[in-house]
Symmetry: C2
């Protein structure tokens, strides 16, 4: 197995697309001439990270995580190949439980995992960096239901899936097309990954996530990406980032390990994420949840390194608090924010990209609860230095629902975060001393030269907020933000224009899907 040519930011070609082996060149050139949407590049944060813990405290948690890995151990279920890889690496394997010598997982990750990597989009303008000072927003992932004000809550379909891909494509501050933006339950469960990957490649040109629900579905994802990017390019670069969840506490299961192996072997990125409801799947304290998250993520990332040295990995952390009344996960509370800030620091110390946060909420409706909770997650996401932000828009009801209205409300917040990340302009124009001198006491700045020169770009312009007068708002029917979002998402879908896709590529993708579907009977469970 050769060392992968993971492209670090310093080496990234200005036009990643030139490396592509076949197809789509004309289409990509057309796109570079510019479409109707002014897409934003991924964020490069110019503001500092917010740190809540001292170095001493972080060291305690790292030592505790090593104790968990050594003394308690982690179960790796149903994968003899991985158990053997760990025996060969010097771990103590008893049945399916692995006890790791102190420092072994950390050493594997620090020695081999890239600090940052490039994930290519089929449009090179959409290529993203993952790690370092970069922040990449990706949509909601996983909900079986969708919701809008017109149809209420219902099971997701492939049409809904395509809609969310289109909305993400049309959102300038959404840098990634994501993965399971909703479950298309009208498509057989063993075939829907094909339609999902196709939808991302057809209706968007942003980078995508792959299927993880079975190793052969991961292989299908890679095969379809090879049609678009070329075999050699895929094996030596990263064109797919996929979500590998631990089965907390302290279990990696057969399905996730199978998908992890496929992606790591093909040099595709995996986000090893303990998905934790604190108090049930981890201790009910912040430091305890951090310790367990670090232990689980560390051995997951190290496993990827055993499969292929240098495979791109992301340290994932997803921790919710819990309702005492219902046992349900709760979001937007202080405890998950503290976990996020702390885990960000641990990821930076380890030297790997960090995934956490998003616009999480427990609310059933896209209401004030949803907004407070989402903002209480998204702001820590930015300030905590998250590199890959899953669920950055559309998440509702603890992840059971992809909400159309919430999607466009959240993306407005993403735009704000992108502006916020640029920090304070301290140029001469930013200091604006000429303006203050020109205007002087008791006058106003509206007409001065500096204001006229800067007004258009001075302030973030919200796509959802109503800042008209009360009287005008009244005359327009007292619409709340959710109602305005309902109007906006429908307008966006009506205005949608697909990015160019080479007809030859499209045909090849469809041929692949048709063949693969014909090989399998339908399955719905």
């Amino acid at each position: 197995m050769s060392e992968p040519a993971v492209t670090t930011p310093a080496e990234a070609p200005a036009d990643g697309g030139r490396r592509r082996a076949r197809g789509g060149a004309d289409a990509r050139r057309a796109l570079r001439r510019g479409g109707p949407i002014q897409q934003l590049k991924y964020i490069v944060r110019k503001i500092p990270n917010y740190e809540v813990l001292t170095t001493e405290s972080l060291e305690i948690i790292e030592a505790n995580a090593d104790t968990v890995l050594e003394e308690v151990g982690i179960d790796f279920r149903g994968d003899e190949e991985i158990l053997q890889l760990w025996r060969d690496a010097g771990a103590d394997v008893k049945g399916e439980r692995i006890h790791f010598p102190r420092g072994l997982c950390r050493k594997l990750v620090m020695d081999h995992a890239p600090k940052t990597f490039t994930q290519y989009g089929r449009n090179p303008e959409r290529t993203v960096e993952i790690g370092g000072k970069a922040t990449v927003f990706a949509p909601v992932y996983g909900p079986p239901f969708v919701r809008d004000q017109d149809g209420g809550r219902r099971y997701g379909t492939i049409a809904d899936f395509q809609n969310f891909v289109k909305l993400a494509y049309m959102t300038p501050a959404m840098h990634h097309s994501g993965g399971t933006v909703c479950e298309p339950v009208d498509v057989p469960v063993n075939k829907r990954h094909l339609d999902m990957v196709y939808a991302h490649l057809k209706y968007s040109d942003k980078p995508i996530m792959g299927s993880v629900t079975a190793p052969e579905r991961a292989e299908d994802t890679v095969a379809m990406l090879k049609i678009v990017f070329g075999d050699d390019f895929v094996e030596n670069n990263t064109v797919c980032t996929s979500l590998i969840n631990a089965n907390s506490p302290m279990v990696w299961d057969e399905t996730m390990l199978g998908a992890l192996k496929v992606y790591a072997r093909h040099n595709q990125a995996v986000i090893t994420t303990p998905f934790i409801l604190s108090g049930a799947m981890s201790p009910c304290t912040v430091a305890g949840t951090m310790t367990q998250t670090l232990a689980e993520a560390l051995c997951g990332m190290a496993t990827a390194q055993l499969v292929r040295r240098g495979a791109p990995v992301i340290l994932g952390s997803f921790a919710s608090s819990m309702s005492m009344q219902s046992g349900a996960p709760t979001f937007g509370t202080p405890e998950p924010a503290l976990v996020l800030y702390g885990m960000g620091a641990l990821a930076r110390r380890l030297g790997v990209p960090f995934r956490s946060g998003g616009s999480l909420c427990g609310s059933k409706a896209a209401d004030a609860q949803a907004a407070y909770e989402s903002a209480q997650t998204l702001i820590p996401t930015l300030l905590g230095g998250v590199n890959f932000v899953l669920h950055s828009a559309g998440w509702l009801e603890g992840g059971l629902v992809s909400s159309y209205e919430k999607f466009v409300m959240d993306t407005d917040q993403l735009g704000m975060m992108q502006t916020m990340a640029q920090g304070i302009d301290m140029s001469e124009n930013g200091q604006a001393m000429d303006a203050i001198r020109e205007v002087g006491p008791g006058k106003h700045f509206l007409g001065c030269a500096h204001t006229q020169a800067n007004f258009e770009t001075a302030f973030y312009r919200s796509s959802i907020a109503d800042n008209n007068s009360f009287e005008q708002w009244l005359a327009e029917g007292e619409q709340d933000a959710t109602k305005r979002a309902n109007t906006l998402f429908k307008k966006m879908l009506a205005d949608y224009e697909a990015p160019a896709l080479d007809p030859g590529l499209d045909e090849a993708l469809n041929e692949y899907m048709t063949r693969r579907k014909a090989e399998m009977p339908d399955a719905f469970a």
Copy 2:
């Protein structure tokens, strides 16, 4: 004029009430035995402040502010006494415009203004520290209108005023009773300050703000506080914090200067706040707005020091962005948050308490827009190290409206911020290694000893969020957060019980009000 005995935290008596000269002792003893509400002490932040600017950038803004004070100058209108104080201090006074020698304002503030001070509540348990690591939440201030779902938007009355005082009193994470929680427009404009101060003293026992709309109204405030706290106590301690707004750009007007003088002379605190709509009242850049804010606040605080050396002052910053469409102020956008973070750092460098932030929004309804915008203001408020937080609950529609529903939605967020401020528990119990050892891979933590011992206090419990199942929420009528807030505020008002107030004090306050009202004809404009 003698030096005031401003109490610093290190010197603060455990029972500030023992210093009080007369009245209310029995009532206060009764209160100390505990009422039905478990009030929270003001926040002492254990988390770091978030810093967006380098020292070098902060020094540039300080130098620019000095340039504004020296070259451009500030107008001090209609107050010959203050102009003379500045002539005597060495400033260059031309008409009403004062040009300050570089560093003079800063020196006056750094030499004399206390870094932190104690503001006493009539219940000593409610006494707060203002400055340093303390954060104090106070309600919305100033709206002429009120709004609830039942009655819609309407002018505020003294009954509304009393209601908001009651709600603030009943909110554990609201540490201060505030000031003009709404304008009681049914009371003559020249007399309503008496009813407002009385309402704070009667319906709450938390610290209060005073009237600033005329010097004699400030004197009435002090006189009523002397009835409660005693003459000597008031002259040597701080029992009142009042809001003195600059008339930006670069103007202090006669009314505000008159009130400032009264409060400073009596050793009562003033918050000198440039209230700025960026682009109209300051340059449309963050650094320019910071520069002007610092210049205006500096000369305001320095003026208080000329009136009385050591008078407690707070550096205030209120900056909104502007809608390009309507010219209206906008909130929850990145630019005001950046101003807040930067101004917090400048206040700390100057060594004075800092006021900014709150739960600000431009929304007309207590909806998702209101919630996003408020959270985008409140989180920077906490992380930016704000010491005195006006408008921390209830603010709607750019400050035109005090909203009942938003008040109780916001106070839930205040509780979260109070928990967040405690940071991560790194004790042995917080580290929870015993729990991880006890449970092990593949089990759950719900029943383990550590969870049982910590569950009650492990997670912040929201007063507004619905975390029940979708089915239960459906069965309960699909109530959104605003509807639940409507139910909650009405229950709170129904459950309200007034804190004890010594009947002799109450009588004396009423006698004073009656006498003062008899001395003035009614005025409504």
